[in-house]
């Protein structure tokens, strides 16, 4: 691999994948293996696998309460090859900070061997978009601590029976927002733009990205870049969930692709203040490819089966706004206004 850029990931110098067929050559070892009890077609489990693969053996992983805790780590059958510790639903950020702080303090004081150790703390959308926002926000402001926070977003509290979260899409049928005779649409809020929220509000956080397990090379590279970037980093992944989204597990990969191809979930990364769209999203942004109608994505899922023509039109309209009106499609939802001095005239 001469001439290739290597990234410092923990104690290792590791390459980026670039293309998916590089994975079998460049990232062979698995650190998230058998032993978990996740559902068939679970994309969040795939995120875990790719994340651990990308980080390598000198890693500590912390996991907030959620599917990837409850379904993953049963006593006596842990799938984690690397050290793993549970953290509370709302403390993904605090877990990252505390672990990184201990390593820094103990190494500085000579109480632990000096070496770079990766710290990854993950949470679901409940932990990353609702309850844990304050803790993650605080964690992303500590430029002195190296860690990566990953929010695996399956768009509901899937472990507790598919209840609405701040990341559930508008109109979705969840057990807390069932369509009924009086209200067809019980969930009337738009999904939070969470990665951008963390990127925009935390100017000392030098790496924020979105990812999707349907694009595994892109995801591995983002995890490696996040870990190699000094200071805290954040990655938001969109994970199709057969149980919560109500579709045949066979279509998980396809739905992950559709989320990107319809423009609903753009793939991007912000590195040291510069935003880059990646993969298909870059082609959509720069006009080399057209967005697919969002209806293709919505119709494939049972959670939107109560939608009427009016609902599809509204949803498509909102996605169009993300692309046509926002200063950065799907990321920055506003533009620079006119100079007020000029307005007066």
């Amino acid at each position: 691999m001469s001439g290739e850029t290597l990234y410092q990931i923990g104690t290792q110098q590791l390459p980026l994948m670039g293309k998916v067929n590089a994975i079998p050559q460049k990232a062979v070892e698995e650190y998230y293996t058998s032993g978990h009890r996740t559902c068939q077609g679970c994309e969040s489990a795939l995120i875990m696998r790719l994340m651990a693969k990308a980080a390598g053996p000198r890693t500590i992983i912390l996991g907030s309460t959620g599917c990837m805790y409850v379904a993953n780590t049963t006593y006596y059958s842990t799938p984690w090859v690397v050290p793993w510790m549970h953290t509370q639903l709302g403390s993904c950020g605090s877990a990252a900070t505390g672990t990184a702080a201990a390593l820094r303090a103990l190494m500085r004081k000579g109480k632990m061997k000096q070496e770079p150790i990766n710290v990854i703390s993950f949470c679901g959308d409940g932990g990353g978009v609702d309850m844990g926002v304050a803790g993650i926000s605080a964690a992303l402001m500590h430029a002195e601590y190296n860690h990566l926070i990953i929010c695996y977003d399956n768009e509901s509290y899937a472990n507790t029976d598919i209840q609405i979260s701040g990341a559930s899409p508008w109109g979705a049928n969840t057990t807390f927002t069932p369509p009924g005779k009086k209200f067809r649409i019980m969930h009337t809020r738009w999904k939070k733009n969470i990665a951008a929220l963390y990127a925009v509000g935390h100017t000392r956080c030098n790496y924020v990205a979105t990812g999707d397990a349907s694009f595994p090379a892109d995801l591995i590279d983002k995890v490696r870049k996040g870990l190699a970037t000094p200071g805290p980093a954040f990655i938001h992944t969109l994970d199709p969930c057969p149980k919560g989204w109500d579709y045949d597990p066979f279509y998980s990969h396809k739905l992950g692709e559709l989320a990107v191809e319809t423009g609903l979930f753009p793939l991007w990364e912000m590195t040291n203040g510069e935003l880059t769209y990646t993969g298909i999203s870059a082609r959509l942004v720069y006009g080399n490819r057209k967005r697919r109608p969002v209806r293709e994505y919505l119709e494939a899922q049972g959670r939107f089966h109560h939608f009427t023509e009016e609902d599809y039109a509204y949803f498509q309209g909102e996605v169009d706004k993300m692309w046509d009106n926002w200063s950065m499609p799907g990321v920055i939802p506003f533009k620079l206004g006119e100079d007020p001095a000029k307005k007066k005239k």
């Binding site: 510790m85 900070t97 702080a101 500085r108 004081k109």
Partner: protein, 404 residues
């Protein structure tokens, strides 16, 4: 002006309880500290942060975004082998209730200061013990110092006992807000060498979260294993008693202070009756006892230095010597047996089954930081003396110094 740290080990100084705790943290060479403001515990962090900014000791010091974050950060640091310190008060302590519960469940030896404060609403800054008492069933060790000097002993013992691998349980140092956190008293701080001799480095052993020891901490145990895990915590809490007793012997050997690990007895040798309580209550009680002794009233004080581990045997041996005992609660337990406080019901439970039981009457006083006056103490002692004389049981719990 010389700082407290510079003066350490050079005789007696005038320090608040919080300042002494900050010095204990410095002397214990704590690695990770988190702070979040709430009165009255937060003064300790003002002293700690000054130590850090002046380079008087080396730690990662993190002002957190909430008490939840504050306690979660040190919980995780503790799992990675760092000695930690944090603290809170009142409803802030309750905001951290989730980490407080899991820290004990994870058997992590976090040491935290509770600056005891009433639980709002209605708003009140003053002392009540209900905040600290809320962790009494979870595996937390809880100690109630009564004076700034005792913070040295109980603060150092907190680290020593909590971090003992036979125990591995968190410890709360419950300091009466204002009366101890903010009140100065003369204190003799130990030297760094003495503390080094007393307090071994924190060693998490094979439970350390580190790539060299790739374990999974806190997986789903459910009904398959949770009962065994709880039983282990119960055994650890039992062992804490013996570990504390041994550690206290070491403390006396190295620092040459303190007499009894669990109980502070005052004028009990010939006492007919005693008052029994926690924390700074001892100050007005001791003064009142001295005055009552002049009137020939044989009153004494038995103060519990530790609420967890609860000194059951010591208390049974001690209190069975007296005709009657007045238990003074600076807390409440609404709807509990006889509508008494938490301490009353625990003391009664501890005494149950003794062949020779004293009569026990409960008092609730000093809530929300209301001062316990000498006349209040004398009134309580007179009530107990009357019970001792008549020999009749009085289960009525009396509220002291309350209007209406």
């Amino acid at each position: 002006m010389a700082t407290a740290a510079q003066q350490a080990g050079v005789g007696v100084q005038l320090l608040t309880g919080s300042e002494v705790m900050a010095n204990v943290v410095r002397l214990a060479d704590v690695d990770v500290i988190t702070a979040y403001p709430i009165r009255p515990y937060d003064t300790v962090m003002q002293y700690v942060s000054r130590f850090i900014s002046n380079g008087e000791f080396d730690a990662d010091y993190i002002p957190a975004e909430s008490e939840h974050g504050q306690f979660e950060i040190v919980k995780h640091a503790c799992a990675c082998g760092a000695r930690v310190f944090t603290g809170s008060s009142g409803v802030g302590w309750l905001y951290a209730m989730e980490p407080l519960a899991v820290t004990a469940g994870l058997r992590l030896p976090m040491v935290a200061l509770v600056g005891c404060r009433a639980l709002d609403d209605p708003g009140a800054f003053g002392t009540e013990h209900n905040d600290a008492m809320l962790v009494r069933d979870l595996g937390w060790l809880i100690t109630f110092p009564d004076a700034a000097q005792e913070v040295v002993e109980l603060g150092l013992l907190a680290y020593r006992v909590a971090e003992d691998p036979k125990v591995f349980l968190p410890c709360a140092i419950a300091m009466d807000g204002a009366f101890l956190t903010h009140s100065q008293a003369t204190v003799r701080l130990p030297s760094q060498e003495q503390v080094k001799k007393f307090l071994p480095p924190y060693n998490r052993g094979d439970m350390l979260l580190h790539p060299d020891n790739p374990i999974t901490i806190a997986p789903q145990a459910n009904e398959d294993w949770l009962m065994e895990v709880r039983r282990q915590s119960s055994e650890a809490a039992k062992r804490a008693y013996t570990v504390l007793k041994d550690a206290h012997k070491d403390f006396c050997r190295i620092f040459g202070e303190s007499t009894n690990p669990f109980l502070d007895e005052y004028m009990t040798e010939d006492a007919d009756v005693v008052l029994c309580g926690l924390g700074t209550l001892s100050l007005p009680v001791k003064v009142a006892i001295r005055e009552m002794r002049k009137e020939g009233k044989k009153v004494g004080l038995v103060r519990l230095k530790w609420f967890r581990p609860f000194p059951t045997e010591e208390l049974r041996a001690s209190l069975s010597r007296f005709k009657a005992v007045g238990v003074v609660d600076r807390d409440y337990s609404f709807g509990s047996p006889f509508h008494g406080g938490i301490l009353l019901n625990e003391v009664k439970a501890a005494l149950y089954g003794l062949d020779k039981q004293p009569r026990v009457k409960g008092f609730v006083c000093g809530l929300g930081g209301r001062e316990v006056l000498l006349e209040n103490v004398k009134h309580m002692a007179d009530e107990i003396l009357a019970i001792a004389k008549s020999g009749k049981a009085d289960t009525q719990v009396e509220w002291i110094g309350v209007r209406g």
